[in-house]
Amino acid sequence: MRVTTTVNGERYDVDDVWEGESLLYMLRERMGLPGSKNACEQGECGSCTVYLDGLPVCACLVAAGQAGGRQVTTVEGLGSAEDLHPVQQAFIAAGAVQCGFCTPGLIVQTHDLLRRDPHPDDAEIREALAGNLCRCTGYEKILDAVRLAAETMSAAPVDDPSGAAS
């Protein structure tokens, strides 16, 4: 089937989509957007977190067809190698990236947290990231990165490309 969807602000018509495949598969394998990572395929790890109509969701649990007519924002839409988002810069600066597989999901989820709550306390950060697994870092550096991102973003606010109505 054909799925027409908007990803990172750009309209796509994607052909030959299998009716049972996930948004994650469509993004990675049919649309050339491999930023969202495929790890558990059951919503357990958060590595495929993307915005769907402004809410962070696991792309592996969204059927590709359910993204039809909707707005998707992936990690690729938050920043680029030349122009990193402050959340991405904070993850690098804090040493919160080791193997990097969980990082895209954590970036999107952190982006959502700081948009809703620019000054989260540690309990709020842990709660917000409870659905994102990292097997390398032990999470301490990730917490550092979120705190750093909150600081830099409140000093210099940035545009919100997530497609949220807020």
Binding site: G20, Q42, G43, L55, A63, Q66, D112, G131
Partner: protein
């Protein structure tokens, strides 16, 4: 496989009549896992996320009509006062990403004995609204669960809403798992005080082939509360009464050993959760805040 994307309820009902074997799809937190792992190949998916009628809740007198497509996130943010037990259970579901997608209607459709919505809905005395092209009916939650992962809905019907009376007294929910997030309940328990009718209702999760009430424990406790005028005096409950309630809740369960826990642990934990939730709910009631 076909992908049927309904945008109105009447379209969705017509599609379900035409293809009763089509699997309804909302947040995908159960159905997509089965597809991703090749465990299920239904002939059709019926996407209901575009059906606006399912995505709303409203008040009819003191009854909340919760559309089947309302997500856990919205239950938590919008219905914490009216449906405190369901909101508590919703906070324990998965992760923020899962709560942004998963729905109470989907939880009922899957009818897993481990589903987090079931104990609070049993305790609150909810009704389930089922619709087909031939009409709409409601089924008491007491008659809804018919077996492991099966329910009273017919193949041509869709779950359209849950009807729950706004809480008249304190409600509590407790769940056992290995961590706070991303846990399928080892066992769970919901309790609701209904002071207006001097009744207590319960719901047991993950400890029988279906979610179920502890009916005998409810009667025992309700009688004891009435006999000692406790609904009026709001006096502290005797420790022996609370313990006996826990034992009777345990007696209502029929758990099995599985990967998440043993039957013996499930029974033990149920008695503890029943005792604790009753203690918390009664403390609220005695404090007169509810």
């Amino acid at each position: 496989m076909e992908f049927l994307a309904a945008t109105t309820l009447s379209d969705a009902l017509a599609a379900k009549r035409e293809q009763p074997e089509a699997v309804p799809l909302m947040g995908g937190t159960d159905v997509m896992v089965e597809l991703n792992f090749d465990r299920r190949r239904p002939p059709a998916l019926l996407d209901l996320t575009g059906v606006r009628e399912l995505d709303e809740w409203s008040m009819d007198g003191d009854v909340v009509r919760l559309g089947a497509g309302v997500t856990y996130t919205r239950v938590i943010e919008e219905l914490g006062q009216a449906l405190p037990g369901l909101a508590m259970a919703s906070r324990t579901v998965g992760s923020p990403q899962i709560r942004n997608r998963g729905t109470v209607g989907g939880n009922l459709g899957a009818a897993s004995p481990a589903g987090d919505s079931h104990p609070p809905l049993l305790a609150a005395g909810a009704k389930i609204e089922l619709a087909s092209v031939t009409g709409t009916r409601t089924v008491s939650i007491d008659d809804f669960y018919t077996g492991v992962k099966s329910h009273a809905g017919r193949p041509d019907e869709l779950i359209t809403a849950v009807l729950v009376r706004s809480a008249r007294g304190p409600q509590q929910f407790s769940k056992i798992g290995t961590r706070n997030a991303m846990v399928i309940a080892v066992s769970s328990f919901g309790l609701a005080l209904h002071p207006d009718v001097k009744r207590v209702r319960t719901g047991i999760g993950s400890a029988a082939p279906t979610p179920r009430r502890a009916v005998e424990a409810e009667s025992f406790l309700s009688s004891a509360l009435e006999e000692h005028d406790l609904w009026e005096t709001r006096a502290a409950l005797a420790d022996s009464l609370v313990r006996e309630f826990g034992e009777r809740v345990k007696a209502a369960a029929r758990p099995i050993d599985d990967v998440r826990g043993t039957a013996a642990y499930r029974l033990h934990s149920l008695a503890v959760m029943a005792r604790r939730t009753l203690g918390w709910a009664w403390a609220d009631y005695a404090g007169g805040t509810a």
